[in-house]
Symmetry: C2
Subunit: 159 residues, 2 copies
């Protein structure tokens, strides 16, 4: 019998401008997926613990878009993008950029896999315009935000 690995793996491919993220959750795929598309749930877990999130738009459907502000003691940061495809319980493809650097855009694909026994694995692929842009994002501390966000998602899914 397997045990869920709650470790978040974050991998930067040395030969391609990508970041791959993998994480497992002790919750059914429908719940994990819903936590990614329902803005009232998204705002409770996305990003590092020290930030609060205000959502301005979050139409998580094929052809939809989103825009939100993250705030901490130092200031506020607006992020936005569009949803290329939202395939319920299976896949979300979206763009992403920080308003402060609007010319740096990533394409993000998240796939959801039902592991059985009420467990779910998600795998994310972020595609950058260049290896330099990818390395800058990794160096900016994205890893902390991803890990802490998924810890908050664990807590939300356990409610």
């Amino acid at each position: 019998m397997s045990t869920t690995t709650r470790e978040t793996t974050i991998t930067a491919d040395p030969a391609a401008p990508t970041v791959r993220i993998a994480r497992e959750f002790d919750a059914p795929v429908a719940n994990v997926f819903r936590a990614h598309v329902d803005p009232d749930l998204v705002k409770r877990w996305l990003g590092p613990r020290n930030l609060t999130m205000e959502i301005h738009r979050f139409d998580a459907e094929t052809g939809g878009a989103y825009r939100y502000t993250h705030r901490d003691d130092d200031g506020e940061y607006v992020f936005y993008g569009s949803f290329h495809e939202v395939r319920p319980t299976e896949r979300i493809v979206q763009t992403f950029s920080y308003e402060g650097f609007p010319d740096s855009v990533t394409l993000e694909t998240m796939t959801f896999t039902d592991l059985g026994d009420g467990r779910t694995r998600i795998e994310g692929l972020s595609l950058f315009e260049s290896i330099e842009a990818r390395d800058a994002m990794v160096a900016s501390g994205m890893e902390v935000g991803v890990r802490e966000g998924y810890e908050q998602l664990d807590e939300l899914l356990a409610e």
Copy 2:
């Protein structure tokens, strides 16, 4: 005095999953840009000459989306995507996929440069998930569609 180069250059980077396209037009940047965002104009030039285009949705604005059908004697082909950003007369960032292969998504950035004297240069960057996906798209004959489409755009801009 420089002359507009109407040759379309299409470059596949050997080390990155990208295709770069460059083309100049004998028309002001406002007109070239408008031909990319007004669906009544887009349907007159986008794609190879032997296809007709039916547009189902074309909201060329930040957070908008599009969907259209290309038809020829052999069948019909649906394409769709979302607009990450539309920055008037400067830049369009959008996703793109063919409904027949929905898991293969590209991120496309088009920049518009005013060359003066009523001339415009456009540069496109298409970002693929892998070099293999990029090579498959190039091998599928995208080059013919791009070149013929821009010839049709020349004709439209000369009206």
